[in-house]
C-alpha cells in the first residue's frame, strides 16, 4: 500500500522539467497503488507547509514539492508528504469499508426525527 516513491534513493525521483538552479524536490508514486484523489487530498492538507504540483509521467504520478519556508529540510518535506499520502489512502479505505454502516447509522438516526417527517419524505 505504500507509494512506490517511499524509499529514499530508490531511484524514484524524477528530474522535474524546467529545473531552476537547485534540484527540485520530487516524489514519484506508482499509479497502480496510489490514486490521484489521495495525492490531491494530501496536497490540500499540507498546504501550510508546501504547495504541490502533480503530473503524470508514464505509469507514475510525479509530485513536485515547494516548501513555504526556506529552512525546511528536503527529507522532512518528503517524509511529511509521503506520510500524509499513506494516511489518506488508509482513510479512503476505511471510509469505503465503513460506508454502508455509516449510511445505516444516519438512516436510523434521522428516521425518527420530526424534521425528516415534516419534510414529507418516506
Amino acid at each position: 500500500m505504500s507509494p512506490a516513491g517511499g524509499v529514499p534513493g530508490a531511484g524514484a525521483e524524477a528530474t522535474g522539467a524546467g529545473a531552476i538552479g537547485a534540484a527540485e524536490i520530487t516524489l514519484a508514486f506508482d499509479q497502480a497503488t496510489v490514486d490521484l484523489d489521495a495525492l490531491q487530498r494530501s496536497a490540500y492538507v499540507v498546504a501550510a507547509e508546501m504547495t504541490v504540483d502533480i503530473r503524470v509521467c508514464g505509469a507514475d504520478y510525479v509530485c513536485t514539492l515547494f516548501p513555504r519556508r526556506q529552512d525546511t529540510r528536503d527529507e522532512d518535506l518528503k517524509h511529511r508528504f509521503r506520510a500524509e499520502v499513506n494516511d489518506q489512502i488508509l482513510r479512503a479505505r476505511i471510509a469505503k469499508e465503513t460506508e454502508p454502516l455509516r449510511n445505516l447509522v444516519f438512516a436510523l438516526a434521522f428516521s425518527q426525527t420530526g424534521l425528516a417527517d415534516a419534510e414529507g419524505s418516506a
Binding site: 487530498r41 490540500y44 471510509a95 445505516l104 438516526a109
Partner: protein
C-alpha cells in the same frame, strides 16, 4: 463451564470497522474517534493491525467494541446505539435561535482598543434603538421554535440606554405570557454605570450580568480606556456589588485576549479567582482580530495563543488541586462534546454554524445580523451577514440566501479536511471568520487560524486526558 473465555474472543479478521476517524497526536499516539466523538488511544502500530484485521490484543479489541469503533459482522446493536447517540446530539437542531442580542445603543464612554463599534456620546437619537424597533425585534424573536429564549443586551454600553432595557424586559415578559418559553435576560456591561436603580431592577427581574475583565489592573486598563482611567476599578467594584446584591451566580466575566495578555495567563486566572469568579473563558481571539485581514487573521499567532491557553489551563487545574473549583469554560464546552451526547449550546463552536439558527443580532437601527461578528464586519463595510431588517418577515430572514448559503457551505460534515477529521464532532463551522480572512464560507482549513487553534486545544485536552487521571476526572465534572 460450557463457554471458555477464548470462545468470545475475536479471531483475526473476525471484526469489521465501524465508521471511524483518526488523528496522530504524538509520534507514538493516535486517537481514534467514532461517529459521535467517543475516543480511544492507540499506538500507530495498533491502528495498522486494527485496520488490517491482524490485531491480537483482545483487551484493546474489547475497548474498541465498547467504544463502537469495531463490531462483529452481523451485529445490529452498535449501529442502533450510534444512531441513538447521534440523534441525541442533534436533538436541539430544530429548536432554532435561543440567543437574541439586542444592541440597544452604540454609545459608550469607554474607548477600548479592540472595539470597532462604539460611538462616543453623540446625540441619543442617532445611535439608540427605538421602542418600535425593539417591539418588532421581539415579535421576530418569539417566532423562534426554541423553548428557551435568552435576551442579551449589548452595545456600546447598554446601560446608557437603560430605559429601553427596562422596556424590552417588560415587553418580553408580557409577550411570553402567551408563549410560555423559558425566558432569561443578560446585560453585557462594563459596570461603570451601575447604580442602585439598575441593581434593583436586575434583582427583581433576575437579570444576569456579563462583564469584561481582561485580567489584572494594568492589563485591563491598558486595553480598555475610559475617562478617569479606572475601568478595572469600576469593573471590580461592580462585580463585587452584583455578587453581594444578586448573588455570586448572577455575574460572569469574559476576557478579551490581546497581544498584551499573552504570557500573563496565570495572573489573569488569579485575578478572577481573587474575585470569586468561578468560570474563566480563555477566549479564542479578540473579537475583531479576524477582521484584520492579512494582519491578525490568518497570521494571528496561534502558536503563542496556544501557549497562553495551556498556561491558563494549567493554572486553573492547579487552583482546583488547592480546593478552588474554577472552570475553564472553553474546555468545559469541548468536554461536553467529547464526553457526553449533550449539546452545550455554544453558538461559536457548532455545526451547522450558530449564525442565525443559534443567535440573531438586532442592531440599534433595525438591521438584523446572523452573529455579533457579522455585525462588526458590517461596521467595517462588509454587509455579507446582514440578513435584513426588523420590518422583514421571519421567513424572509431565516430562509434568506444570506443565511442559508453560509450555513450549508460551511457544514463540517461535508467540508474538505473537516469531513475526515477525527475531531469533527468536537468542532464547529465559522463562516464569518473564514469569509473575513479567506473570502469564502468554508475556508481552507490547512491555512485557517480557526482550525489550527481548535486542533491545538483538542490535542492538548486529549493528551491531558490520556496522561493525567486528575485532569480526566476534572474534565468529566466540567462536562456535566
Amino acid at each position: 463451564m460450557k463457554l471458555e473465555r477464548a470462545a468470545t474472543a475475536l479471531p483475526r479478521h473476525g471484526w469489521q470497522l465501524l465508521p471511524l476517524r483518526f488523528h496522530r497526536i504524538d509520534a507514538d499516539s493516535v486517537v481514534l474517534t467514532n461517529l459521535v466523538g467517543e475516543h480511544v488511544f492507540v499506538t500507530p502500530d495498533e491502528l495498522r493491525t486494527v485496520a488490517d484485521g491482524t490485531c491480537a490484543d483482545q483487551e484493546l479489541l474489547a475497548r474498541l467494541r465498547a467504544a463502537h469503533l469495531v463490531q462483529v459482522p452481523g451485529e445490529t446493536l452498535p449501529a442502533e446505539l450510534l444512531a441513538i447517540k447521534l440523534r441525541t446530539r442533534m436533538r436541539r437542531l430544530p429548536d432554532s435561535t435561543g440567543l437574541h442580542i439586542f444592541v440597544v445603543t452604540l454609545r459608550c464612554e469607554h474607548t477600548c482598543r479592540y472595539c470597532q463599534v462604539s460611538r462616543q456620546s453623540a446625540a441619543k437619537s442617532e445611535f439608540d434603538m427605538t421602542e418600535e424597533t425593539a417591539r418588532r425585534a421581539l415579535e421576530l424573536a418569539f417566532r423562534s421554535p426554541s423553548p428557551q429564549l435568552k435576551v442579551e443586551f449589548q452595545g456600546g454600553e447598554p446601560l446608557l440606554n437603560f430605559p429601553l432595557v427596562r422596556w424590552i424586559t417588560a415587553e418580553a415578559n408580557r409577550m411570553n405570557q402567551e408563549h410560555g418559553k423559558d425566558l432569561t435576560f443578560v446585560i453585557a456591561t462594563n459596570l461603570a454605570l451601575l447604580d442602585e436603580e439598575i441593581l434593583g431592577f436586575c434583582a427583581e427581574e433576575q437579570i444576569h450580568i456579563s462583564t469584561s475583565l481582561d485580567g489584572p489592573q494594568d492589563l485591563h486598563n491598558g486595553n480598555r480606556r475610559r475617562p478617569g482611567r479606572d475601568s478595572w476599578q469600576q469593573a471590580v467594584a461592580g462585580i463585587r456589588r452584583v455578587q453581594e446584591r444578586l448573588g455570586e451566580d448572577r455575574v460572569s466575566a469574559l476576557m478579551t485576549t490581546t497581544e498584551a495578555s499573552l504570557g500573563r495567563a496565570a495572573e489573569i486566572i488569579d485575578t478572577y479567582a481573587g474575585l470569586g469568579l468561578r468560570g474563566v473563558f480563555l477566549r479564542p481571539v479578540s473579537p475583531y482580530g479576524f477582521a484584520l485581514r492579512g494582519r491578525g487573521g490568518a497570521n494571528y499567532d496561534v502558536g503563542r495563543w496556544l501557549e497562553f491557553y495551556r498556561a491558563g489551563l494549567d493554572r486553573i487545574v492547579e487552583l482546583n488541586r488547592q480546593g478552588v473549583p474554577m472552570v475553564e469554560m472553553y474546555a468545559a464546552i469541548i468536554a461536553k462534546k467529547m464526553l457526553t451526547n449533550a449539546d452545550p449550546g455554544y453558538v461559536d463552536l457548532t455545526s451547522p454554524a450558530g449564525i442565525g439558527i443559534g443567535a440573531l443580532v438586532y442592531n440599534y437601527d433595525g438591521d438584523i445580523y446572523a452573529s455579533d461578528e457579522g455585525r462588526m464586519l458590517a461596521e467595517m463595510g462588509d454587509r455579507t451577514f446582514r440578513l435584513g431588517t426588523v420590518r422583514d418577515s421571519y421567513a424572509d430572514i431565516m430562509l434568506s440566501d444570506g443565511l442559508l448559503n453560509p450555513l450549508t457551505e460551511s457544514i463540517t460534515l461535508s467540508a474538505p479536511m473537516c469531513a475526515t477529521c477525527a475531531f469533527e464532532p468536537y468542532c464547529g463551522a465559522d463562516p464569518v471568520f473564514h469569509h473575513a480572512t479567506m473570502g469564502d464560507f468554508t475556508g481552507h482549513k490547512a491555512l485557517s487560524a480557526f482550525c489550527r487553534r481548535n486542533m491545538g486545544v483538542f490535542t492538548l485536552l486529549l493528551r491531558k486526558i490520556r496522561d493525567d487521571p486528575y485532569f480526566r476526572d476534572l474534565l468529566w465534572r466540567w462536562a456535566q
